[in-house]
Symmetry: none
Subunit: 216 residues, 2 copies
DNA sequence: GGTTATTTGTTCGTATGTATC
DNA sequence: CGATACATACGAACAAATAAC
């Protein structure tokens, strides 16, 4: 009958209470002891619910003062969670664009940093491009760019978006692509940011069009 | 330094423990009593941290069995969230940089689209900037730019990052800022992409420095 | 400025439901 | 079945921060 997690019931009760009493952001919520009394649960249980909501950023507690509804103009966490999973056509387009946004930003970050843009690793790329046997994986190339940008959060977001954007980098580079990639590498080494980004974008867009043509 | 909110320290400790011991999704986490023993805190504090992570979907607890790292195969948001809910210094820097990355991309997208960049809405901005009574909210300005970019996914990510990046846009625009914002608007209307992006970046970086100075 | 009441922060002991062996 | 390990839950107690007087 009863769910085996009372603190989740408290979370629900708190939401209902906030709606029913029309508690606005910044307003104070009844104290922990008061809530324990009215909801007929222990104070520890109340605290588990409050701490959870606090980590989510929904409430704010100040020692000696009380608990307050967070000043969140846009609290879309739950909505974001649901809409992330529902993928319509517009969402897929957004995913592709956002993924490429992160890629271009990574290239710009690399070009801006002399110690990275002129490191010896690019020779390693060229070596691997030359080995025709294995076939150089497009995906590895882009991922290493993301890693080199140094922004781990951006890398993480990119990995997620890449999974959901139809994997345009699947496969190995052709001879024509090889030339283009070498151009991109040269531009990066010369710190020609705009040129590097533009060349990359052209390459990426071309792969995407090819991918969409094959799917239809 | 971190005297208050010990459960947040526990959240951090748990992340480190999971990384160090290489705990994979589905694996079991040490029991509450065991954690309380090793981390030298009360069991209630451990529970507050665990309940918070559970509500986020990062862990899963089963009565009589134990606590397990959540198996989040189909939930990409959870991974994004976990990256910056469990924050270290590098993560905070990444969050700020990634947020600005989305903002600059939004401006570039707006400039690239003639129908948007030359719409009448910019006059609305100027009107609201002129009304000195209310005080124009910086946050609203940036958010509307994100909305106008037309990428809903980028907007959602921005909303999330904005919450966790120290809210640099808190407050209203000063007279000096007003001039700068008008310059940005003019550059957008003229489709001067680079200038608009550069002006915006200068403005944003300035706010961030001010924010960091006040915090210390 | 000092005192007191209120509130959150934290710990501990105890009891109970549940799964595993 | 019993024994054990674990999560769930309660409530008392004290510490620390804050507000009101």
């Amino acid at each position: 009958m009863n769910q085996s997690k009372r603190y989740l019931d408290i979370v629900r009760d708190l939401r209902d209470m906030i709606r029913q009493d029309n508690i606005r952001p910044g307003d104070r919520i009844p104290s922990e002891r008061e809530l324990a009394e009215t909801l007929q649960v222990g104070r520890s249980t109340i605290r588990e619910a409050l701490r959870s909501l606090e980590l989510l950023g929904l409430i704010e507690t100040r020692r000696g003062e009380g608990t307050f509804l967070a000043d969140h103009r846009n609290n879309m966490l739950v909505e974001v969670l649901s809409t992330f999973i529902l993928q319509d056509n517009q969402s897929q387009k957004d995913v592709r664009e956002t993924r490429q946004m992160h890629e271009l930003a990574a290239i710009q970050a690399i070009c801006a940093d002399r110690t990275i843009s002129q490191m010896g690793i690019w020779d390693g790329f060229r070596m691997r491009l030359s080995e025709e046997e294995n076939g150089f994986q497009r995906e590895d190339f882009v991922r290493e760019l993301m890693v080199l940008s140094g922004n781990r959060l951006s890398l993480k977001i990119w990995v997620l978006l890449h999974k959901y954007s139809g994997n345009p980098y699947n496969g190995t580079v052709s001879k024509a692509e090889k030339e283009r990639l070498l151009n991109i590498l040269a531009a990066i080494e010369q710190q020609e940011t705009d040129k590097a980004a533009q060349e990359f974008k052209t390459w990426s867009d071309g792969l995407l069009k090819e991918r969409l043509r094959n799917d239809s």
